[in-house]
């Protein structure tokens, strides 16, 4: 159990092995573990970013929904008002139309009456003349004629 050159050999071997390990064995594994750590960190970051995006998108969509509801309400309100207005206008027009028809009819009736009166007046004179002819043909009873003519005149 004496110390011999194995001691030196082991030192040289160990120095070589450590060098080999440091140059060819250690770096790939450390690199892979670093890379994997980085990927996991990136993944987590992306997930949190997506979460944030989702939240903001939800907020935006809620806002848009609220705006749309308000717009729709305004449109409906306006439409209701417009409808009421249209109904009112239609009523007004109908009333005017009716009035006009009524007044037209009245004017026609009056015209008709006047025409009838005119026709009657012209016929009265003819009847009077015919009556006078009849009276003149028969016995002229002045008193009687007189009475009859008066009667006629009052009837007109």
């Amino acid at each position: 159990m004496n110390i011999n050159a194995t001691f030196l050999g082991q030192m040289i071997a160990m120095a070589f092995f450590v060098w080999f390990c440091a140059k060819y064995v250690w770096p790939p594994f450390v690199g892979i573990m670093e890379e994997r750590k980085k990927r996991i960190a990136d993944g987590l970051e992306a997930a949190s970013r997506a979460q944030k995006d989702l939240e903001s998108a939800q907020a935006r969509s809620e806002e848009q929904l609220k705006d749309a509801k308000a717009d729709a309400a305004a449109i409906i309100d306006q439409a209701n008002k417009r409808a009421a207005q249209i109904v009112d206008e239609a009523k007004e027009q109908a009333r005017e139309e009716g009035q006009r028809i009524i007044s037209g009819a009245n004017a026609e009736i009056e015209q008709e009456v006047n025409r009838a009166k005119e026709a009657l007046r012209s016929q009265v004179s003819a009847i009077a003349i015919a009556g006078a002819e009849k009276i003149l043909e028969g016995s002229i009873d002045e008193a009687a004629n007189e009475e009859m003519l008066n009667k006629l005149a009052t009837e007109l």
Partner: protein, 287 residues
């Protein structure tokens, strides 16, 4: 033991254990290069000899797992990781988490260093669970007797029961401590910490007596803790094998269950202490 051509059954318990505690040492003996046939021969070889068995297993396990991790890393995918990639990623992430918990400075080398130490030591310790004679007596000894004409060759398969291996690693960590201390604190800062630290500059010799052994104790305790724990475990396995012979497997299993805790724990402790020591080496002086 010089004519070590006995069959394993003829060995006494002590001989069996001694045999299993000796290394397959290759070095210069009696003017020629060759394997040491006895521990005494291995000692005679002096410093310029190498424990082929433990060092070989150490290289094999280290290169094997690094090559495996390298292949997995090369074919790794971000989106569709295979099961094996998940496993390696888990190990890397575990090491990275321990480093970032305990190491407060920026140094790209600490992670790979700790990954290498943790997994390599874990694998080397796990060799302790292989039944003692499975690769040794039934495998390698036969091979050595045929190929090298070396009867009854020792063959240790647990690299962390070799103090050369554990001290080699802890000494490299020690060099890194010194390098980073000087790099971050400057030579003056590093020496100042040793000379002026607990009691101010008027107690300089006393400070040195405290601080220098503290510094030197770091690699020694680091290496010997790992060695001691695994050596003790191995020794118990050997005792079980030596005393129970063919009946070793149930007892081996029971001790393995206990030892199962020590194996990852010692790898983890080695890595954690390395992190703590190197973190201290990066600390700037407070004043």
């Amino acid at each position: 033991m010089a004519d070590a051509s006995h069959a394993a059954a003829e060995l006494t318990v002590q001989e069996y254990i001694t045999h299993h505690l000796s290394f397959l040492t290759f070095g210069r003996i009696d003017g020629h290069w060759g394997f040491a046939h006895t521990p005494e021969e291995a000692a005679e070889m002096g410093f310029w000899a190498i424990n082929v068995d433990t060092f070989g297993w150490s290289l094999f396990l280290g290169a094997g797992f690094l090559w495996f991790f390298y292949r997995v890393g090369k074919n790794a995918s971000i989106d569709n990781p295979s099961g094996i990639q998940n496993f390696v990623e888990y190990v890397v992430e575990f090491v990275d988490a321990r480093v970032s918990e305990s190491f407060k400075y920026k140094n790209e080398l600490i992670g790979p260093l700790c990954l290498t130490l943790l997994f390599w030591i874990l694998l080397m310790n796990t060799m302790d669970l292989v039944p003692v004679d499975l690769l040794t007596s039934f495998g390698f000894e036969k091979l050595a007797s045929v190929v090298f004409n070396f009867e009854h060759a020792p063959f240790k398969i647990v690299p962390t029961t070799d103090p050369n291996i554990t001290m080699g690693m802890s000494t490299l960590v020690f060099f890194m401590i010194i390098y980073y201390s000087i790099k971050n604190k400057g030579l003056g800062g590093f020496l100042g910490e040793l000379a002026f630290h607990p009691f101010g500059k008027w107690m300089l010799p006393f400070n040195l007596i405290i601080e220098v052994p503290t510094l030197l104790a770091k690699p020694i305790s680091l290496g010997l803790r790992l060695f001691g724990n695994l050596y003790a475990g191995e020794l118990l396995f050997l005792l079980i094998a030596a005393m129970l012979g063919a009946w070793q497997l149930p007892a081996h299993f029971v001790w393995a269950v206990f030892h199962l805790l020590v194996i990852p724990l010692q790898a983890f402790v080695f890595m954690m202490l390395t992190i703590v020591y190197l973190n201290a080496a990066h600390e700037k002086p407070h004043h």
